[in-house]
């Protein structure tokens, strides 16, 4: 299999963007091309979830390609719910690994603010099973709430642990210019103060407002290249060493143990096996913390910690920027934001920044291996990557 390198990266601010979806994909693409030092590419993938339903946009990738004047390069739009971004990176990887392309641009973009918050939640709720879940009013936060309650019961996770994830990730986001939320969050403010229940109301008990990521607009892009091209470009040699994907049942109640995220475990295992490394070799990770509980559960399922001990490692500070395995230095979905189709691409963006040593105030010390976990649906389609800096 041909080796594939990440030679360029670009991102927009996450938050509320006042320009159209096509431009949200185009801007970071141009930044990534400039970063790579490339004027054109062989292929374009655009990751997006809501274009058809929210933005009434069809054939998004052809529109972006035209906007970037990239003809005659081919293009496709890739959708895999909230894991669309990593799926597109994976397909870019395969396009080069197969020998069909030398260079691929992967852009992820979402513009949720075209609809109001309720419609956005309703839109995301279509990810649940239409007959077995959706008709009951089940949403992703509802599934996360039920998951959290079981996790608390079984492993002794408390609301304080969840809040510690929020505090950590909002802290990291303070140093990320592109993050959606730049508000310092404290345990007092969201848990202990008299106003805590007002500042941090319950959404899907036991999950509160600060346990959930915001609804964001945003875009991110990466440029992939074959080894031959990457060497010529003279950028740091950062390689996609492993990619793994796995799926689980659509209706959560069908899973044998509802506290297990089987697809996360399998996807990570596949990525690690392909990269021929172990979870303990990872120096920095971006996990899909759409809900605070997910950062804890994923940190266990991917193998950083034993099952049921993620919250203890969190308590010990092991997932802080200065810890043994820093998680979500970018601020994560929790604070950086979650523009659905862009999220997986943005995770890869952060890992490349970290491996290049360009993450400024949130830089992890000298990382060699990074890891991402991008979680589709409520864990029914998960993509993980291992990214390695070569000396």
């Amino acid at each position: 299999m041909r080796e594939v390198y990440i030679v360029g990266i670009g991102i927009t601010s996450f938050g509320r963007l006042e320009y159209p979806l096509v431009e949200i994909a185009s801007y970071p693409s141009v930044v990534a091309l400039q970063d790579a030092g490339l004027d054109t590419v062989d292929h374009l993938f655009v990751a997006n979830m809501g274009g058809g339903r929210i933005n009434h946009q069809t054939a998004l990738s052809s529109a972006v390609l035209d906007h970037l004047s990239l003809w005659p390069a081919g293009s496709e739009t890739i959708e895999n719910g909230p894991a669309s971004g990593s799926s597109a990176v994976k397909l870019g990887f395969q396009a080069i690994a197969s020998g069909m392309c030398e260079t691929v641009l992967v852009a992820g973009a979402e513009r949720m603010s075209e609809v109001n918050q309720l419609d956005a939640t309703d839109f995301v709720a279509t990810l649940t099973h239409p007959m077995a879940e959706q008709i009951y009013g089940i949403t992703l936060p509802a599934l996360a709430g039920m998951f959290t309650r079981l996790y608390m019961e079984k492993y002794g996770v408390t609301r304080r642990h969840l809040a510690m994830v929020a505090v950590k990730n909002h802290g990291n986001a303070m140093d990320n210019f592109f993050a959606h939320v730049h508000t310092r969050v404290t345990l007092e403010g969201i848990l202990d103060d008299r106003d805590a229940e007002t500042n941090n109301p319950v959404i899907a008990d036991p999950l509160h407002f600060f346990d959930m990521c915001p609804v964001s607009d945003g875009g991110a892009a990466v440029v992939l290249a074959s080894k031959e091209v990457a060497k010529k470009l003279g950028k740091p040699m950062i390689r996609i060493a492993g990619v793994g994907q796995a799926t689980d049942t659509h209706a959560v109640h069908e899973r044998p143990d509802p506290t297990e995220l089987t697809a996360v475990r399998l996807a990570a295992k596949r990525a690690f096996e392909m990269a021929k490394i172990e979870p303990k070799d990872v120096n920095v990770a971006e996990l899909h913390d759409a809900f605070t509980i997910l950062e804890i559960a994923e940190s266990e399922e991917v193998g950083f910690f034993k099952k049921g001990e993620g919250h203890l490692a969190l308590e010990r500070g092991e997932t802080q920027l200065t810890g043994k395995i820093p998680i979500n230095p970018s601020g994560g979905l929790k604070a950086k934001g979650h523009p659905v189709g862009a999220t997986g691409v943005a995770q890869v963006h952060e890992i490349v920044l970290q491996l290049r040593g360009q993450a400024e105030k949130r830089q992890v010390k000298d990382p060699k291996i990074g890891f991402t976990c991008n979680f589709g649906g409520f864990g029914n389609n998960v993509v993980c990557t291992v990214i390695k800096k070569e000396e």
Partner: protein, 119 residues
């Protein structure tokens, strides 16, 4: 018209699944020559044990309540269902009994589903 929650029993291996799958989750059986998958349907039992639950306060736009209580229940036959709870203080492990009721109304449609009560 009797509304019920129907499980899908595979004609080959006998396993019962809910919701429906085009191929049996256990043995992948399906009579693919017809557009109808060849499962027998049967009403699922309504009583079971509460596995987990949540009070959801951010509701889809077509609900008029302040919150909904939702949960996953393991039925007496081992199948599981996601449904609504009309139980003031739910507790993991409690016994519940289900009834089929309207669980969602939109401008166009009424959906029937299972609602669990304390048993």
């Amino acid at each position: 018209m009797i509304r019920d929650i129907l499980g899908y029993k595979c004609r080959k291996c006998g396993s019962i699944s809910y919701p429906n799958h085009y191929r049996c989750p256990k043995c992948h059986h399906t009579e693919w020559r017809k557009m109808d998958v060849e499962f027998d349907t049967l009403p699922l039992p309504k009583n079971g044990t509460l596995l987990t639950y949540t009070h959801l306060y951010a509701l889809p736009p077509d609900y008029e309540q302040v919150f909904l209580t939702l949960g996953i229940v393991e039925l007496e036959n081992g199948n599981r269902l996601t449904g609504q709870l009309k139980i003031e203080k739910p507790k993991i492990g409690m016994k519940v009994k289900g009834k089929v009721e309207v669980v969602r109304k939109t401008d166009y449609d009424k959906y029937y589903g299972i609602v669990f009560y304390e048993s």
